[in-house]
């Protein structure tokens, strides 16, 4: 029993983090002024849930504080307390203390007492609670009637909720001038839309009438827009399509309760109200969950990986067969590969966690930095629903913290500087994430002054990192800040000068199998981008041959591949060859030379040039002996038993059972540039 209790408590604490995150996001919205009413309700519910759980697990201080917070929130909701700048500050304080209290329970690190007392007193005063009305720890009032007396639904409140939608365009829809694509786009604008396509009715090409939509969709939409918006869409297309929707409760324990008499008939009634009458079950969710050991999940992932390799092997074995004679076999193989892909996706999603878990902490960080630097910064977060491996999420916190500190310290100007540059006095920091293929890309965009390249270069020369008189390109100068020990801070500030530099960020991301890039425009700002692999990454790759070795190039980076005509290859005296391509000159990077491969073909006109564009970089022409074909492969780590290798992002096992390396194009191009430069300088000096 005790174990179970501890486990439930663990789950509550995890949930608590999420709730604090929600609360914080709500306060941000309130500060921004947009949709304040919905945000207040969301905040109220988050705090209420924390109170319920804390009470149930005997977490006195947390319950106590949440109670005072909730009481104050109630007054804000009813408009009996003013919602002004002071109120927003108080709310932020409250959220910070909630977080500290949750950490106190989890890690035993006591929350700062002074801050707790001050915030508690302020909330009690603002909430109209007698300061003397201080309940003893754990004695928070959980009288269900008292809670019931607080109508949690403010009436027509605009909390986001889930809708399941079935959308089947009829045969006349496109002809009637309504493209089903537009309907989906409209839905996407309403909120977070997840799309499940049913393409089973797609006829053969010869039978296809392009004007008859053969697709149908099952959609899930999370929106605050309410039922009206969906009604409107249905009315518009009612006669040419089937458009059915129903509300789904994301976290209500019992959907039937939503329809219970006496509850708000409004479709937008907030469904996630915690069961106030059952404080002992704060962790109830509509979706039941089980706990699984990580090694078990890893085994599952490995087995899925094996399956994909076996499938590739099968595909190689049958490649020589006559497709007409073995139609069934090919079809079955196709189907199997689709199933394996779905299986792999599922296996990946099990370990995934939304980035929100780490992103939600940065609001507090930015506010702290605003105070310590005197600069004003607005943090915008998008894409925090993107999911990535749990272990990666945890390890992202430190590097991202450093990048944000760096952007505010070195990037964003102070108010005077911004005014002089004709910018909004409040700096803008955008933290965004998206999934691209087998990668998750996280970008931190600031609208500050950009990298001062002349100063970076001067510093690098001064430190002997670059020979005097060298003329590196802008991109190369930007790369300098990632060198160990490099820091442009004139004085060691309390903010960034903590002995960890951008090199630590690059290293941390590298250890997770990712890489960091940056682009900067003087006066306009800097963008850092972190590229991270998904845990069970399946990559569509082009298999190439150099010497007797296979090397794999991610398909997404390939622009085209060609066998160059002699006239299009320009030989430079010392820096190798260039390719004239679409009116530009591209560097030809012979992979054989770069990797020291034996017996590679040196003459570019006897080779295949693969034009690649590394994410966020310049295109170049990779010279390989030959192309073998395209294959989906499972990315395996080299670091697990060996280490990171320059120019290589990982390995995979090909159909013949042998490992092959997957090229890491960004570092490949950077390494080549640097090597050419060194060679040139050696030749000159």
């Amino acid at each position: 029993m005790a174990d179970e209790e501890a486990e439930l408590r663990g789950i509550f604490l995890l949930e608590c983090d999420e709730l604090v995150g929600t609360a914080e996001a709500s306060v941000e919205t309130i500060r921004g002024g947009g949709g304040a009413e919905a945000a207040i309700h969301a905040l109220f519910r988050a705090v209420h849930s924390i109170k319920g759980g804390a009470g149930a697990f005997g977490l006195g201080r947390l319950a106590d504080f949440a109670h005072a917070f909730e009481t104050y929130m109630d007054r804000l909701r009813k408009g009996t307390a003013p919602l002004d700048a002071a109120a927003v500050d108080l709310l932020f304080d409250g959220v910070d203390v909630l977080r500290a209290l949750a950490a106190e329970v989890r890690e035993g690190e006591p929350a700062p007492a002074a801050r707790y007392d001050a915030a508690l007193r302020a909330l009690r005063a603002a909430g109209g609670l007698e300061v003397a009305d201080s309940p003893a720890a754990g004695s928070v009032d959980f009288d269900p009637l008292a809670d019931a007396a607080v109508p949690v639904d403010g009436g027509g409140s605009e909390a986001a909720r889930l809708y399941r939608i079935r959308f089947v365009p009829g045969p006349k829809m496109i002809g009637a001038g309504i493209d089903p694509l537009r309907i989906l786009e409209t839905l996407k604008e309403l909120g977070a839309l997840s799309v499940e396509l049913d393409a089973s009715r797609l006829p053969a090409l010869a039978e296809l009438d392009p004007s008859v939509c053969a697709f149908a969709w099952n959609l899930t939409l999370e929106t605050a827009a309410g039922r009206d918006a969906l009604d409107e869409i249905r009315d518009m297309i009612d006669d040419v399509a089937t458009f059915e929707f129903e509300a789904a409760a994301p976290s209500a324990p019992d959907p039937a309760a939503l329809e219970a008499p006496g509850s708000q008939p409004s479709p937008a009634a907030p469904p996630s109200l915690p069961p106030a009458t059952e404080p002992a079950k704060p962790r109830e969710k509509a979706v039941p969950t089980v706990r699984v050991d990580v090694p078990k999940l890893e085994r599952l992932g490995n087995m899925v990986g094996e399956l994909i390799i076996t499938q590739a092997f099968l595909a190689r074995q049958v490649a020589g067969l006559d497709p007409d004679a073995h139609r069934q076999l090919f079809r079955a193989l196709d189907e199997m590969s689709q199933h394996i892909r779905d299986l792999a996706d599922s296996a990946t999603s099990i370990r995934a966690q939304p980035l929100r878990a780490v992103f939600s902490r940065f609001g507090a960080l930015v506010r702290e930095l605003e105070k310590s630097t005197g600069k004003r910064v607005r943090l915008e977060i998008t894409g925090d629903q993107v999911e990535i491996d749990k272990t990666v999420v945890e390890r992202l916190s430190e590097p991202l913290t450093h990048l944000i500190r760096n952007s505010i310290d070195h990037g964003v100007e102070d108010a005077a500087g911004r005014a002089a540059a004709g910018k909004d006095p409040v700096g803008h920091l955008h933290l965004r994430a998206e999934q691209r293929g087998a990668q998750v890309v996280i970008e931190l965009v600031d609208d500050g002054k950009g990298i001062d390249r002349s100063r970076v270069l001067a510093k690098a020369v001064e430190r002997g990192l670059v020979p005097p008189g060298a003329t590196p390109s802008d991109q190369e100068i930007d790369e300098l800040i990632f060198l160990p020990g490099f820091s442009t801070a004139e004085a060691v500030t309390s903010v960034s000068g903590r002995g960890v530099g951008m090199d630590a960020v690059r290293q941390a991301i590298g250890e997770m199998g990712g890489h960091v890039g940056l682009t900067s425009r003087p006066g306009l700002g800097t963008t850092f981008s972190l590229h991270l692999p998904l845990s069970l990454a399946i990559l569509d790759a082009m298999v190439t041959l150099v010497g007797r070795q296979n090397y794999l190039i991610p398909i997404t980076a390939i622009v085209e591949s060609l066998r160059p005509a002699a006239a299009s290859v320009v030989r430079m005296d010392d820096a190798g060859a260039m390719l004239a391509w679409r009116g530009a000159l591209l560097r030809i990077v012979p992979l054989g030379a770069e990797f020291g491969v034996r017996d590679w073909r040196t003459d570019p006109t006897q080779c295949i040039l693969v034009i690649v564009r590394p994410s966020g970089g310049e295109p170049f022409a990779l010279q390989v002996d030959d192309l073998i074909g395209q294959e989906p492969v499972v990315v395996k780590s080299l670091e697990k038993n060996y280490r990171k290798v320059k120019g290589v992002s990982g390995a995979t096992i090909l159909g013949d059972g042998r490992p092959a390396l997957i090229l890491d194009l960004p570092t490949l191009s950077a390494a080549t540039l640097a090597r050419r430069r060194l060679e040139r300088q050696a030749a000159e000096g």
Partner: protein, 96 residues
């Protein structure tokens, strides 16, 4: 490889889509592959997307090369919207 490049029009309106379907069928019947140059697609439509998908299935069944070359951002976004982003990724062809 006997592959020909077909250029997709900027708009995915029905006329252009039916035209491209006809061209694709001709290639298919001739037993030749096709790469669709999709860099200029500015107004993708569902009609266009389902035509590409049906074509991809048809060429794959005959094991003829088929792919999209440099799909425009708009086309990528539309693929994602209809729930076919993964398929799009597998359709991107090396130029030849």
């Amino acid at each position: 490889m006997d592959v020909e490049r077909l250029k997709l029009a900027a708009t995915g309106e029905l006329g252009a889509t039916i035209e491209i379907k006809t061209q694709l069928l001709a290639r298919l019947e001739a037993g030749r592959g096709a790469y669709l140059d999709a860099r200029d697609v500015d107004e993708p439509s569902l009609a266009l997307i389902q035509t590409i998908e049906a074509a991809a299935a048809a060429f794959a069944e005959r094991t003829l090369p088929f792919g999209l070359i440099e799909p425009s951002d708009r086309l990528c976004a539309a693929y994602e919207t209809v729930g076919l982003f993964a398929q799009l990724m597998s359709r991107i062809a090396p130029d030849s």
